[in-house]
């Protein structure tokens, strides 16, 4: 299903890269509002292979969630419009599919988990009803079979006494359990990709760890590919294979987890890593990235990060940095990426502290 009738050009591209599950290519999204056009996504490209976990990292407003919504096809249009690019699933561009075909992928082959499960679940239906909805409506399962499957799924995400809780409403669960319900719901039709948009942000720290463990285990057991969207550097280290760091609607650095933590190749990544609170820094001021993310209706010229960048030089104001290939699948959009990654260039403000 869904793998035939792909345009030939896409087939060729897919063959070259060994057919990734999902390929996002030069995606542009803008939001057209009364105040002007906000350039929310400005040329995002990444791919995802079967069973792989990609973490998308960035501050609020960097375009992480919008990227996810564009991939899911649930962008609010208006105001959001995909203006350029392709999103290929098994080599076929989903942006050119009919609405009906796209909907058959959505939820079934690519599923999504949202941040706040209390508001993301419908308050007036039981969790059993919500988990089984697509099974009953799309898979044509009987209510009894669907309920059995829901119990299986709830067991899988380790909800205790699953059968008794089928008839419970979302508000009768704790935050962590609610997020498990959300995960169970996303797994209902055995998707190939799960997009988790800040799945732990609304939860207590201990519960956060449990949910991340669960996601890691499920991915190993079921072989599902995972796109993990987060602003929390601490969350991704254990789970992700690769990390894409987003800033102002672009992926500014793309690397495997270990390289990125060891030798970040973009000043923004350095800033993010520095702003993780450390035990041995106790008593000192938390290091932050100065300034605010840019206004997306007026993105700074050149490198969008230059007003906040400790390494910034004249060239950063005038020229958009190239997407530099650092080898080993690492990419960075910084004029000085090659010198930053080797440690040749250090933060000029480092000596002060």
């Amino acid at each position: 299903m869904g793998r035939h009738s792909a345009p030939e050009a896409d087939d060729a591209a897919a063959a070259q890269t060994g057919e990734p599950l999902l390929q996002v290519d030069d995606l542009h999204v803008e939001f057209r509002t009364g105040d002007g056009v906000a350039h929310v996504i400005n040329g995002v490209s990444f791919d995802l292979r079967a069973g792989e976990t990609l973490a998308v990292l960035g501050e609020s407003g960097s375009g992480k969630s919008v990227t996810a919504q564009a991939v899911m096809g649930i962008l609010d249009t208006p105001p959001g419009h995909v203006t350029r690019g392709a999103i290929r699933f098994h080599g076929e561009d989903m942006l050119r599919m009919s609405g009906t075909r796209r909907r058959q992928i959505r939820g079934k082959r690519i599923a999504m988990i949202f941040q706040d499960a209390l508001s993301a679940l419908n308050p007036v239906f039981t969790v059993g009803w919500q988990i089984t909805e697509t099974l009953r409506k799309r898979e044509g399962m009987s209510k009894k079979d669907a309920d059995e499957r829901a119990v299986e799924l709830m067991d899988l995400v380790r909800i205790p006494a699953a059968r008794d809780r089928l008839k419970s409403f979302p508000h009768q669960f704790s935050g962590g359990m609610r997020q498990r319900v959300m995960i169970a719901m996303s797994l209902a039709e055995r998707p190939e990709i799960i997009i988790a948009d800040e799945p732990t942000t609304a939860l207590d720290v201990t519960v956060q760890a449990q949910i991340m463990d669960l996601l890691g285990d499920l991915r190993r057991e079921l072989g599902t590919a995972l796109i993990l969207i987060t602003h929390d550097m601490g969350v991704v280290a254990d789970v992700a294979d690769r990390i894409a760091v987003m800033y102002a609607g672009r992926i500014v650095e793309h690397a495997d987890v270990h390289s990125l933590y060891r030798n970040p190749a973009h000043p923004y990544t350095i800033g993010l890593l520095d702003s993780i609170p450390r035990l041995d820094d106790k008593g000192k001021r938390l290091r932050t990235i100065p300034g605010l993310p840019p206004n997306l209706t007026a993105i700074p010229s050149g490198c969008p990060f230059h007003p906040r960048c400790p390494f910034a030089q004249d060239i950063c104001v005038t020229r958009v940095p190239p997407n530099m290939d650092l080898g080993g699948g690492r990419r960075s959009e910084c004029h000085f990426a090659d010198r930053i990654v080797t440690g040749e260039l250090t933060r000029p403000d480092q000596e002060d502290e």
Partner: protein, 307 residues
């Protein structure tokens, strides 16, 4: 749940005695000579006067009079009115008319109100939405007796529809009165449903439903509608209570011989016993409807707890 209902029923009892006492006091104790008020212009013979004093216990203190009256009401003996007719009989003949009128108006309000509200809410800012908003505003701004009178006049002059329901048993004759009676509720329902749908369309669970790959019709028709109906049904329940009793103006204009019409007549001839009895019955209907709505609210919204 059971405890909640018991508590609510106790509150209802208090509200019932409070309102009836007030109405009884207004009708009897507040007028100087109740018998003169009851009898109106007619001269009364000494024996009639004595009989009336006997009937309404007018030689007793006010609260005792009230207690006698409540005893009659609660034992379903509604007594006789000032012209000697059984009030129970009067109510029994009037009630079906009011019931039919109210239910017809209610069906009209529910069906048209929710349908129009949902359509307007899903097309917020569109031509349909704006037209609906203006029209409902017009209806809300014009008092019912104006709408009713105008329609009755137009209907009678051009012979479009019956404007005098007395003697016409068909349901068709009640259609225009029901439209008039329900117009205000309809306009409010449309607006309430519209706002509720608009708000719910922005809710996070709608995004989840879309991410599940559900068709738009199901997202709006099941996920959004079910949530949007919570405030609408609450409003409708209370409205049904007032439609049952609040039809005085409409029934008068179209000569529907219902409860409202009888109440109007009783007030104009200062027939105290009838007024008090009908108002007491309306209070009961209203209170019961309110209780049903509150209990229904918990069924509609599982987050509500009765404690």
């Amino acid at each position: 749940m059971a405890r909640y209902i018991v508590r609510r029923v106790l509150q209802m009892v208090l509200a019932f005695f409070g309102t009836t006492l007030l109405v009884y006091w207004l009708m009897f104790a507040a007028s100087g000579d109740p018998i003169a008020a009851l009898a109106g212009e007619r001269p009364l013979s000494e024996s009639t006067r004595a009989a009336l004093i006997q009937e309404f216990h007018l030689d007793q203190p006010f609260l005792v009079q009230y207690a006698y009256y409540m005893k009659g009401l609660l034992t379903l003996d509604l007594g006789v009115n000032t012209s000697g007719r059984e009030i129970g009989e009067l109510v029994a003949s009037a009630w079906p008319w009011t019931l039919r009128l109210a239910l017809l108006a209610f069906v009209f309000v529910v069906v048209a109100g929710i349908a129009l509200g949902v359509i307007a809410g899903t097309r917020r800012g569109g031509a349909f939405d704006n037209t609906t908003l203006v029209l409902t505003l017009v209806v809300i701004s014009i008092p019912v007796f104006v709408i009713g009178q105008v329609l009755a006049l137009v209907g009678a002059r051009y012979d479009l529809f019956p404007t005098n329901v007395v003697g016409d048993d068909s349901l068709a004759a009640l259609i225009v009165p029901a439209l008039v009676l329900g117009s205000l509720s309809l306009a409010t329902t449309v607006r309430l449903a519209r706002t509720s749908v608009t708000e719910n369309l922005r809710a996070d669970y709608v995004r989840t439903a879309r991410a599940k790959g559900l068709i738009h019709r199901r997202i709006v028709g099941v996920h959004v509608l079910r949530n949007s109906l919570i405030p609408v049904i609450t409003f409708l329940g209370v409205e049904l209570g007032s439609l049952m009793g609040g039809a005085i103006v409409t029934e008068k204009i179209f000569n529907v011989p219902g409860i409202g019409f009888q109440l109007y007549k009783a007030i104009s001839i200062e027939d105290g016993p009838t007024v008090v009895t009908i108002v007491s019955l309306l209070v009961i209907v209203y209170l019961v409807m309110n209780l049903i709505v509150d209990v229904l609210y918990g069924v509609l919204d599982p987050r509500i707890r009765y404690e």
